[in-house]
């Protein structure tokens, strides 16, 4: 891990209909960490990611990616939305969905060609989904759909990956496959930020963690701050998990 800051969030406040869902968030994410964002339902975890990516407009504050605004650094960032956010009955194939990851570098109007197809096939291979490339996406299991989404992010060949609950509704094999890919990304000095629900696996999967509940509770290395004190502050109840350190 280097000392460079990959993502910096300053005084970010986001509101839906004037009700703040994120309040005055300051956050520095160092380059090369594998970070979990944890917090209860409605804590604003997805909102935080969406605001960083410019999908939602904050009412105050700013975000920078390697020191510049997101608009200028788009090509450095890949995004895996929640699996449930799209219609899996959409008439398209696994390969085609992965190809969508290349659209960003193509820009408006230009069509994907052989080069993009090759990159998409490689990404499918990486997540073990190559045999399913021509399958209609509704014919895939939940775990396979999540792998397709991951492949779509990998094809962007970004420096920073944002993932919204990539482990939701996937089988154990897929979970292991995904975490191995995320760890490989970290090894390649990529920064990976994951909205995560399963507190038990945080120490095993991640090296960095952010506790969020409308406000930021704490952020830092898992080994220093993943403790009952922060969990209780975040979840509001006397929260104890058995953590093997």
């Amino acid at each position: 891990m280097s000392s460079k800051i990959a993502v910096q969030v300053d005084d970010l406040t986001v509101a839906y209909n004037y009700k703040p869902v994120l309040w005055d968030i300051d956050l520095e994410i160092p380059e090369g960490v594998l970070m979990a964002i944890v917090g209860p339902n409605g804590a604003g975890k997805s909102t935080l990611i969406k605001s960083i990516l410019g999908i939602l407009k904050p009412i105050a504050g700013s975000v920078s990616i390697y020191g510049k605004s997101y608009d200028k650094q788009r090509s450095l960032v890949a995004y895996v939305p929640q699996k449930g956010s799209v219609d899996w009955d959409f008439p398209t194939t696994a390969l085609d969905v992965v190809m969508m990851g290349t659209y960003g570098s193509l820009g408006w109007i230009k069509r994907p060609g052989q080069k993009e197809k090759k990159a998409a096939l490689e990404a499918l291979e990486q997540v073990g989904m190559l045999p399913f490339k021509n399958r209609q996406i509704s014919q895939l299991s939940g775990g396979q759909q999540q792998r397709i989404f991951l492949a779509r992010a990998l094809v962007q060949d970004a420096s920073i990956y944002f993932m919204d609950e990539p482990f939701q509704g996937v089988d154990a094999t897929t979970e292991i496959a995904i975490i191995n890919i995320l760890k490989a990304l970290r090894k390649a000095n990529k920064t990976v930020i994951v909205v995560h629900h399963d507190l038990q696996t945080v120490p095993e999967y991640f090296d960095w963690v952010t506790f969020l509940n409308v406000k930021k509770i704490a952020t830092g290395p898992v080994k220093d701050i993943f403790n009952d004190d922060n969990l209780t502050k975040t979840y509001g109840i006397n929260y104890k998990v058995s953590i093997q350190k």
């Binding site: 209909n17 410019g54 995004y79 219609d87 008439p91 969508m100 089988d171």
Partner: protein, 386 residues
């Protein structure tokens, strides 16, 4: 076939293609009702445009009406955004209001001109060939043909240029936004095209048929294919098919052309809905029936696997033990025998090696829900196709 007949069919076909393109995306975006709203609420735009230009085919009229269409969408979204009512309610509030303004304006001011509510709702395709476009005195064809032709060309051009963007923002607006393709711009682009197409088709086929031509072909195509490009082509084909067959039905029955085309669209959807190979009603019912039998088969095999004692596997006892009716028991045993999963020897049913392996595999799958190990079973059994 006279040239007027040919022209009517040509106009109807071009309208059908022009409607199928935005219609496909409206169906995929679950926005079918918006086309209904647009088709009605552009009426005041048409009336105001007509008062200004005194020409039903003026480009200004098309622009004004299309603008009303976009205003409809904005109003619906604004009402919806308050969170006080849902989208369908917002649509139900906006378009009757705008439509009724148009109706009143016609009734008050335009009684003696070629613009009445009947024509607006049902169109006057039969009269389309009489309104000719003259360029320096030379007859170059019906005006409606030129209008819809130009709109169609623009629509196809936009579809070619922005196919990738349309697909992405329809499938995953979040990713589209994060990659820098403004889903809002694409949304309003699609709404504008839908509005312009509606206005262009309006005069020829009326408000009701425009909706049918946008939604029915796309909905039918959706049931038949899993490829967006094929869905677009199928929608266009279905639209043209209904337009031409509808025209001839009207000709033979001496009935309204617009009404006949819409009827054909309805019939077409009904046929596809019933007979589509994988998503059709009959296919779904067949699949559910097969799945039921397969679950029974699995229950039966599992029973055999769990009981080594002979009295549990005696043909006469099996029926009591599993508590099935005779027919169901027979179907299941026949299926098991056909697949070489069991053998019956002296009234004692035994699992074969294949049956034993199949049962273990299936149980493993049901417990772990891991797909990899049952790939080869998917072809033979509905149960494992998810």
């Amino acid at each position: 076939m006279s040239s007027a007949q040919l022209e009517i069919q040509l106009i109807a076909s071009l309208v059908a293609i022009a409607c199928a393109i935005p219609g496909t995306f409206l169906v995929l975006r679950k926005m079918a009702m918006i086309s209904d709203a647009i088709s009605h609420s552009i009426l005041p735009g048409i009336v105001v445009g007509f008062f200004i230009t005194q020409d039903l085919n003026s480009p200004l009229l098309i622009v004004l009406a299309a603008l009303t269409g976009v205003i409809t969408v904005v109003l619906v979204e604004q009402i919806q955004k308050t969170g006080l009512v849902k989208e369908d309610t917002a649509i139900g509030l906006v378009f009757p209001a705008l439509f009724s303004i148009g109706v009143i304006m016609i009734a008050k001011n335009a009684n003696d001109v070629h613009l009445d509510v009947d024509a607006v709702l049902l169109g006057e395709l039969a009269f389309a060939p009489f309104d000719r476009l003259l360029i320096s005195g030379v007859d170059v064809g019906p005006k409606s043909l030129w209008i819809i032709g130009i709109i169609l060309l623009i629509t196809i051009g936009l579809l070619f240029a922005f196919f990738k963007e349309l697909k992405l923002s329809t499938f995953d607006a979040g990713l589209a936004a994060s990659l820098g393709f403004s889903p809002v711009a694409i949304h309003y682009g699609l709404m504008t095209v839908s509005s312009v197409t509606t206005v262009g088709a309006f005069d020829a086929v009326g408000a009701i048929l425009v909706v049918a031509l946008m939604i029915a072909p796309a909905a039918s195509a959706y049931l038949l294919t899993t490829d967006l490009k094929k869905m677009l082509f199928l929608s266009m084909f279905f639209g043209v098919f209904s337009a031409i067959s509808g025209y001839w039905v009207a000709h033979w029955l001496d009935a309204s052309i617009a009404g006949s085309i819409t009827t054909m669209l309805g019939l077409l959807f009904l046929v596809v809905y019933l007979f589509a190979p994988s998503k059709g009603l009959i296919a779904v019912m067949y699949r559910e029936k097969q799945q039921k039998i397969e679950v029974s088969l699995l229950t039966f095999l599992l029973h055999l696997k769990n009981h080594t004692e002979e009295n549990e596997r005696h043909v006469n006892h099996l029926r009591e033990h599993i508590n099935w009716q005779k027919i169901r028991a027979k179907t299941v045993v026949d299926l098991a025998l056909k697949n070489n999963m069991v053998t019956i020897d002296n009234h004692i049913v035994s699992l074969t090696k294949k049956g034993d392996e199949f049962t273990s595999q299936a149980i493993d799958y049901i417990i772990t829900n891991e797909d990899a190990q049952i790939e080869d079973m998917k072809d033979d059994f509905f149960l494992f196709r998810g």
